[in-house]
């Protein structure tokens, strides 16, 4: 059920990218999409009863750890998501200065 709810969040983000006309709403939809994907990866690597994958000197290297491989993949993905959002917002701000609107349909009509 948890995977199904994450898929619903993914589709809400996809709806925001496809059906919205304001550039800020499109950027928000992209952000929601990336959060849903990072959450799905972190959910896949969870082991029931496991602790965080840090080896301490009391327990030793044989405790019951959570899977560290999806965490290593998500760690870079979060920072790259911020870079993508910042680049999209830079384009949006620049286009506002040129067309004086955030609306995608009006930009298509104005054309330069």
């Amino acid at each position: 059920m948890v995977y199904g709810l994450t898929l619903v969040l993914f589709f809400i983000g996809l709806y925001g990218i496809l059906f919205k006309k304001n550039l800020i709403k499109i950027a928000i939809g992209l952000c929601i999409l990336e959060y849903a994907m990072n959450l799905l990866f972190a959910l896949v690597g969870y082991r029931k009863g496991g602790v965080a994958p840090i080896v301490t000197s009391q327990e030793g290297a044989s405790s019951f750890f959570v899977d560290p491989l999806p965490q290593a993949l998500v760690l870079t993905a979060i920072v790259i998501g911020l870079g993508t959002t910042a680049l999209l917002l830079a384009f949006a701000v620049r286009m506002y200065r040129h067309y004086q609107t955030f609306d995608v349909e009006e930009m298509r009509k104005l054309q330069g």
Partner: protein, 144 residues
């Protein structure tokens, strides 16, 4: 910004910066590492710009020191990876472990992983500060 924000920011900025440096340097022992510490250091610089404005921080919008440190960070990362080839083996070899295997659970252990953490910390902090700073100070003006 108001007086309350400025007074609290005066105490919080060094604390957050110190926490970021701690998380970077102890990246192989505690949770965190290069990415977490780097974004914390960038957060402290962004707080300084937000609370005190651009003029008081003495940053210029044309020539920016953070682009230089960003390039230094990624060059240092590439150079540390290239040391593996100089040692005679593959690309990302952990050369300091091969030269002198250190103790466990100490600050100077795990070979060249702390150096990698330092390079990644510098690069991520500079890149994020450049991005957020340019987006914050962009003003709409100059009608031709």
């Amino acid at each position: 910004m108001t007086l309350i924000v400025r007074s609290i920011a005066r105490w919080m900025i060094p604390s957050i910066f110190l926490l970021g440096v701690y998380v970077v340097l102890h990246g192989h022992l505690t949770p965190g590492g290069g990415f977490a510490g780097g974004v914390l250091v960038a957060g402290s610089f962004v707080l300084s710009i937000l609370a005190f404005g651009v003029k008081k921080n003495k940053v210029e919008t044309k020539k920016e020191w953070s682009s230089l440190t960003e390039s230094i960070g990624i060059f240092l990362f590439w150079f540390l990876a290239f040391l593996g080839i100089l040692w005679g083996s593959y690309f990302f070899l952990n050369v300091l472990t091969k030269m002198s295997p250190g103790a466990r659970f100490h600050l100077f252990s795990a070979g060249s992983i702390p150096l990698y953490n330092l390079a990644i910390g510098i690069e991520v902090a500079s890149a994020l500060f450049t991005m957020v700073f340019v987006l914050m100070v962009f003003r709409e003006k100059e009608r031709p």
